[in-house]
Assembly symmetry: C2
Homo-oligomer: 479 residues x 2
């Protein structure tokens, strides 16, 4: 329960916001602010106000009033992040600036294969509209972020091996700086080539709204594959994950779209409520891989079949199941849906050079077994990108706040970052969940550079953010 | 001829550089500095000194001494740029910092498919070494830049449609800032996923050494295709270029590697000395396209053949020639080799949204015919990326300096930038050749942001660069 006495925002400031943003533009604590205050995995705080501007000019007004009233503003997309960075602190004094009503632009340039869309359009909406033209934005994640959030967190997911992350698909942005001039940086354009100096677009990619509020983006979109095929395979007991990556990259080449790992402890979660899914998995006590290929012609299935046969010839796989692509993906999607509700549990989103994934897993398991023998590690992730989602199921009754978490965080992150040159945040960004890691592992010169950039873009300290030296107030952990 | 009296650098400063950089580390005007002073297309100046550090620490020393001696430093890669940005001004007072001897690292991580290489390794050297492992760095350009230069200019070229430019292949850099602390920013890593805040790597991409000296980079490398196939095709007289792009993207899908345009005026250049190449072109009075596909299996040739047949069915093509891939590329490569030596002539490297290429060409031809009827436009380029290299052959005796050039530049750039939302520099960057366009077309807020970033990275104004508000001294145009 939240028991802090909330800070209040002066009525005349609220009136000023309301005058600028019009009907429905300002929500106060008297409204139901729940979905702006709590993230899907239950990090939560309390918003002093929620602003819902409809256009770039209203974003400028919002930031201008906040600055002159000395209020802190937290930009928020679909609030689907998993590190708590998109929820306000518990003070009740922060202003959430939601980008959900920024929807004025949706411009598909089919000849250029580009889409320019306002920040509020969601990924699912975009896919629906693009599918009508045989196109898609090739970002595949379990949640439904909006355009502003995808740019601000550099969304990645399960198709990165083929299509890259949002940064690689991004051609331009529009963003409003919280500076005195209300500067609008606008690089929106279907242009694929422009080399005129520093690409200002990059300031807003993966920086979580720290330097400005992203109001729109232009992205490259891709043709939908004409055929897709997928398989769950069980790795042979002595097969090396790197050899499997190399095999499927060589044999599927440019068509390899996904390469997902699910460990036996992850498979075990399907027992009981989801046991019908278990029947589609080939061999439940081995590491499983979900492989997907997509082709511009009809060859996907035959190609994958040949690739599986040659993998078997090489002794890489124990068994494999092919079938309807979406049904096979259901297995992959249900696992994080289970682990996100598990408790007590801790989850990590880490990466290492992909050739090191097997060594990382061994080291983690050995060290956990030695120091925390009752913890069960569950592994899944985009391992061909070197990404690993690690969930640690804790013994019933273990408190996840305080010493235990810090001890496990330290163990996991030291192994990932110091032992394997990896990252404590592969995809999810920096928030209250992992900010202690930011301070511990990010070299001082990078933290300083980011702080200097913040001072340049936000000299009056209007925007709230985590990937910098200044953190905002306390926040509630998931209960 | 250069007739300016060169500035001289104090002997004791030269001694200090020599002490830090060791044998061969410092070249003076008494040595032959020609290759550091003139670019391939003959922009030239005069270097006061050339520094050739061998390691990151020597780069730090070089910048430290230059800063304390109030000398301006121009970072230089292979000096293969085409806008004059990598040659010193005519004062003789600037110090060229060549990265050619930075060669200590060459680390191929085959499991991660990544290469970490010092700035001095050239593209050709990299391709030779990678080919031994069945890999390549998928950047295809006519010149032979080095790693530092490729990062600093965001090299693009003929394979961008499939593999992207250097920014999209880049995983990290090491760069030395010219600040008082001699800060080294180091994001070198085979990691494909790391989202911990602003990606400092981006400060050094396409910024021409303006913010720091790139000393090494980590890039993603790719398997060599198992099969390649190429065709020169003549577009049907009424075929639209956008329809051709759409057709080949759909029918070749993920295997489409290059899509190059050559206009009839470009083809005409092959008459005489290179007329044997003409025989391989299908129809010399039509726009020609060079299409290349590459596959992980042996299907390239059959796939391209099917794609050509369906293009013919749609009435898109007049005629086509297939054959040995490298022989067909010879035609494409010889044309810029001819145009670079043409005089008097002016060349432009522009881009527009790719769906606008045909409209751009029509407008340019119409406006040139109206205002400069004796000018012959020659067009080639990576048109599926919206890129166009435009060469204007001028009547014999036309001076290319002064009014005529400014008039043509204004006409071309106004049409490209203001008429079609394009860029005056698609690939080549900003230098003395097009700096007037930088000031005219780049919005003030972007120029200001870049200047603020420069002040942040280079508070004492040590580095020389063009993509900012401050330009350095005069430079000689090609004679």
């Amino acid at each position: 329960m939240i028991d802090t006495v909330p800070a209040t925002i002066a009525p005349k400031v609220i009136d000023e916001f309301a005058r600028e943003l019009g009907p429905g533009g300002v929500l106060t604590p008297e409204d139901d602010l729940g979905r702006y205050e709590a993230s899907p995995n239950l990090w939560s705080g309390r918003a002093g106000l929620v602003l819902r501007p409809r256009c770039t000019e209203e974003v400028r007004s919002s930031l201008r009033i906040a600055r002159s009233s000395n209020l802190q503003v937290l930009p928020q997309g679909a609030n689907s992040g998993l590190v708590g960075a998109s929820v306000p602190d518990v003070s009740g004094g922060q202003v959430v600036l939601s980008t959900e009503r920024l929807r004025s632009s949706f411009l598909l340039d089919a000849a250029s294969r580009t889409l320019t869309a306002s920040a509020g359009w969601t990924l699912a909406e975009i896919q629906d509209r693009l599918a009508e033209d045989g196109l898609r934005f090739p970002i595949e994640v379990g949640s439904n972020p909006n355009v502003g959030g995808m740019v601000s967190t550099n969304t990645a997911g399960a198709n990165v091996i083929r299509y890259g992350d949002v940064r690689k698909r991004l051609l331009g942005v529009q963003a409003v700086l919280p500076d005195r001039a209300g500067t609008v940086i606008d690089t929106l354009s279907p242009l694929r080539k422009r080399n005129e100096g520093f690409d200002a677009t990059q300031l807003f990619v993966g920086t979580q709204g720290r330097y400005g509020v992203v109001t729109a983006a232009t992205v490259e979109v891709d043709p939908l594959p004409r055929a897709r095929a997928a398989a769950w395979i069980s790795l042979a007991i002595n097969a090396d994950l790197s050899s499997a990556v190399a095999h499927f990259e060589r044999s599927c080449g440019e068509t390899l779209t996904s390469f997902e790992l699910l460990s036996p402890a992850g498979i075990a979660l399907l027992k009981g409520q989801h046991s019908r899914l278990l029947q589609r998995l080939p061999c439940v006590d081995r590491d499983c891989l979900l492989i997907e290929v997509g082709t511009h012609d009809s060859s996907a299935e035959a190609l994958l079949q040949r690739s599986l046969e040659s993998a078997a010839d090489k002794g890489l796989l124990e068994d494999a199941t092919t079938g309807d692509v979406e049904s096979l993906w259901e297995i992959r999607r249900i696992v994080p849906a289970i682990t996100e509700r598990m408790e007590p549990a801790l989850s990590y989103d880490v990466s290492v050079p992909r050739g090191d994934i097997s060594r990382l897993r061994t080291t983690l398991r050995d060290c956990l077994a030695a120091s925390f023998p009752s913890v069960i590690p569950i592994e899944l992730g985009h391992v061909a990108d070197g990404g690993l989602h690690l969930i640690l199921a804790l013994p019933s009754g273990t408190p996840t706040v305080g010493h235990e978490q810090v001890g496990l965080d330290r163990l996991v992150f030291d192994i990932v970052v110091q032992g394997h040159g990896g990252s404590f945040s592969a995809e999810h960004g920096v928030g209250p969940k992992n900010h202690h890691a930011y301070r511990r592992y990010v070299p001082e010169e990078l933290r300083l550079l980011r702080e200097q950039l913040r001072q340049l873009c936000d000299p009056d300290d209007v925007l709230v953010g985590w990937a910098g030296q200044r953190a905002h107030g306390p926040i509630l952990m998931p209960e």
